[in-house]
Symmetry: C2
Subunit: 477 residues, 2 copies
């Protein structure tokens, strides 16, 4: 089934993506509209994402817990902006155990409300703060236009929910987790991301401020890859999270929430993938090295296979798979593992056995250029170095691509062109009207006001008024 | 809040359990009836359970994936016994995105149906088999009488679903996973379990045969702690999972499913807990060792704290927590950590510092008897040994308890008494009427027909007819 070639990205990017996800067996369409099945190949990537993030959450003092899937409809209604934002996207349980429910239950689209109600029960005094809890789970948002990994009715994510005794501490937490996401995306995913603040229009329903890491995909669109929200006292007031402070006075807590989802698997596919298929960053690749034995007859096979096993043993520190299928050719295997994005391929044939060496092919550099021959005595060291090199060069390639496709339009006219094929980095006065005009006329939205600002002032790219911040405009997923 | 004493188990076992779960902050009641919040202390135990099981699943060739939460109602109806078993317990989504759905969606109570539908898409030839997939997730069953961890509307579990080309292979898989569960329960949980087959009445809705591991709780009731089902071709036929065999003939696949849930946290609580609170088996305990510094004044504090930090460093291979709270006394801390079930407590005071030793108290043996003084140079070795000893003795104690409370009644009258306070291990002819009579008259059900049988024959404890198998009768959770 993997024999049919993918369409090229240039030909049809959307189709390239869909077919790649299906052919590499990362995910499949579920029988329910808009839902996905994450297949073992895709889930293994997500497990590596989970473990890289969970390590960082625990290192920053967070613990995991589990809150219920069902939320009483009335809870959502307690925070006005929150319910306005989520009401159109809800899946609602109206029947339980054969009977109509008195109060309908919402299948959680996010858990600020139900977690807020528990925090109000648990928090009495400043000694109970901060609460630093994360949850790994599934949420449901009734999306109309869906796309595997990027936007599905049900998706998998983590949502952190913290409560603090001061605004300052909550703001620090919001920033800390944005930094954790950026570090994760860059270090583990080799995905260069721009951290920044969302505009008022684009922020989370119920937040005071939302922060995001934005990544440029292979078609130059932006993908929001993780978000961190400062919720102020909005949810604390809605759910009555109050504590006695050091002066024995009752105060509302300050809360944050932050999330990163299976959408990030989509970010990896579209940041690194090429016309041959998936290209996985070594640190997140479920299989880092695939070994393909090469032989033409039984005599060669007897010579090659014991060495394949030895090499497999030798590389015990890496995630190695030996492709010992008999029913397909080495050429078929090469294509198959390229499609599946394994960073390094080791070929071992009779000549390699004689020379006590192996051939290693890099996934990120096709053909001869990416191939090297390595002596068995140097193998462990070389594999480690090559994996590091691939990880680094994927990041650099993606960063160079983003830079090459980020424009500095000199006029509104140039902006309109720029966002058809990249990001525009422009001064913006901050007014909703200017943002709305760009969106209406170009389909590009403000992606983020990057943390890293040039300083000074400039004319708003839309209205020309003096502006003090630059923003990224881009079409997005 | 932890100052109030628990009721003793003898006084009120149910209340002892409920209060322990709440006070030790393992779980809490959610705002939706019958749902639970698993708090960080409880979730950390579940994470250790997950990791111990996941390791075993992967070692036996399984991979993880994720299937959707929502199942079309029509899918459940495809397997007659399955829908009959689950229909009364369903939560049903009837509204999505503000509109009434054409076909209601069931929130999965278990995933045989939706996974079956995907397997029918993925399986074409015998080369595609076996499929060995596990899923970690949440499921919903609309239970009427709920109890934290043991029976809640939503719970967390893993469900393995495999498809095979022969009945024999599927039967082997069913047995293999039952063995995995038994090994896990015994080795990691220190929970002695009896593996065996469920009766026709007690088996999973849609299975040909169900197997279980049954454990005796502290009140002598039985808890079904994990199940493994041989589904025959029932679901393959309902969902058309067909493959071309070696002779190019179309065959239905043979499937299995197996699951273990957060209920196992309840098994641990009720197997090992005592009147002081939780007793965690060291291999699953999130904190294995708690260090409590003992000092009366600043001079002693300055002497003790550096040593506490050294010891913490020294024990880097274990999961150690230092209780450095200033606002509570050492006595309060002792009670608190006893309630929370930490296997070993290390006390370090000025005298210990002088003697270059520490005091270690075992959670499973209260008072002086469980206390030892260990030189710093021996500490790592001693802690390791003590953790192993505690793990082993918890298992032995639970096994002795089960044996002491398992009876061999000589008559139906004796059986009726026996199951009021323990398990009865008796010959049973296998007839539903005999099973039903016991249940009606004593509330005890058949828990399992153990794999390990004495052989030979005996008279059915109910009707006196010749029987070839012995069964456990017990009241259960």
């Amino acid at each position: 089934m993997n024999n049919e070639k993918l369409p090229s990205r240039k030909e049809n990017y959307a189709e390239w993506y869909n077919q790649l996800v299906l052919k590499a067996e990362l995910a499949d369409y579920a029988p329910v509209r808009g839902c996905m099945v994450v297949r073992p190949n895709g889930w293994a990537v997500w497990e590596n994402i989970q473990s890289a993030l969970d390590r960082r959450f625990k290192a920053t003092g967070h613990v995991n817990a589990a809150f219920p899937l069902f939320i009483p409809m009335s809870f959502l209604e307690k925070e006005k902006e929150h319910v306005e934002g989520f009401a159109p996207e809800l899946a609602i349980v109206t029947i339980g155990g054969g009977e109509k429910l008195e109060e309908p239950l919402v299948v959680r689209p996010t858990s600020e409300t139900v977690i807020g109600s528990m925090y109000s029960k648990w928090v009495k005094s400043y000694r109970d703060l901060p609460i630093l809890i994360n949850q790994w789970g599934n949420v449901v948002r009734w999306e109309m236009r869906t796309k595997l990994f990027l936007r599905t009715l049900e998706f998998y994510w983590q949502e952190g929910h913290t409560a603090h005794s001061t605004a300052e501490e909550a703001r620090e937490e919001t920033q800390r987790m944005l930094d954790v996401y950026a570090d994760f995306a860059i270090t583990e995913g080799a995905v260069p991301v721009v951290p920044g603040r969302k505009s008022e229009t684009e922020k989370f329903a119920g937040a005071v401020n939302s922060y995001t890491i934005e990544a440029m995909m292979g078609d130059t669109r932006a993908l929001q890859s993780g978000t961190s929200h400062f919720l102020g006292q909005n949810f604390a007031k809605a759910f009555n999270i109050q504590f006695l402070d050091w002066n024995n006075e009752l105060q509302y807590a300050w809360t944050t929430s932050w999330g990163l989802s299976t959408r990030f698997v989509g970010a990896i596919i579209m940041t690194h993938g090429d016309d041959q298929g998936l290209v996985l960053p070594p640190r997140l690749a479920p299989t880092q090295v695939v070994i393909v034995p090469i032989y033409k007859n039984d005599a060669e096979k007897e010579k090659v296979l014991p060495v394949v096993n030895e090499v497999n043993q030798q590389l015990g520190n890496f995630r190695v798979h030996v492709d010992s299928r008999e029913e397909v050719t080495p050429g078929f295997k090469f294509n198959d593992w390229e499609l599946r994005g394994v960073p390094l391929r080791i070929e071992i044939g009779p000549k390699d056995v004689e020379k006590n060496s192996v051939a290693i092919a890099r996934r990120d550099i096709p053909g001869r250029e990416g191939k090297s021959f390595v002596g068995r005595d140097q193998l462990n060291l070389q594999v480690e170095e090559l994996l590091n090199t691939v990880q680094k060069s994927l990041f650099e390639r993606a960063l160079a691509f983003r830079k090459a496709n980020t424009h500095d339009p000199k006029s509104y006219g140039e902006l309109m062109d720029a966002v058809q094929n990249g990001w525009a980095y422009s001064w913006w006065c901050g007014k909703k009207e200017c943002e709305a005009k760009v969106k209406e006329e170009t389909k590009a939205s403000t992606r983020c006001i990057p943390t890293d600002q040039p300083g000074g002032h400039g004319p708003c790219i839309v209205c020309g008024e003096q502006a003090s911040e630059k923003v990224y405009f881009a079409r997005s997923y």
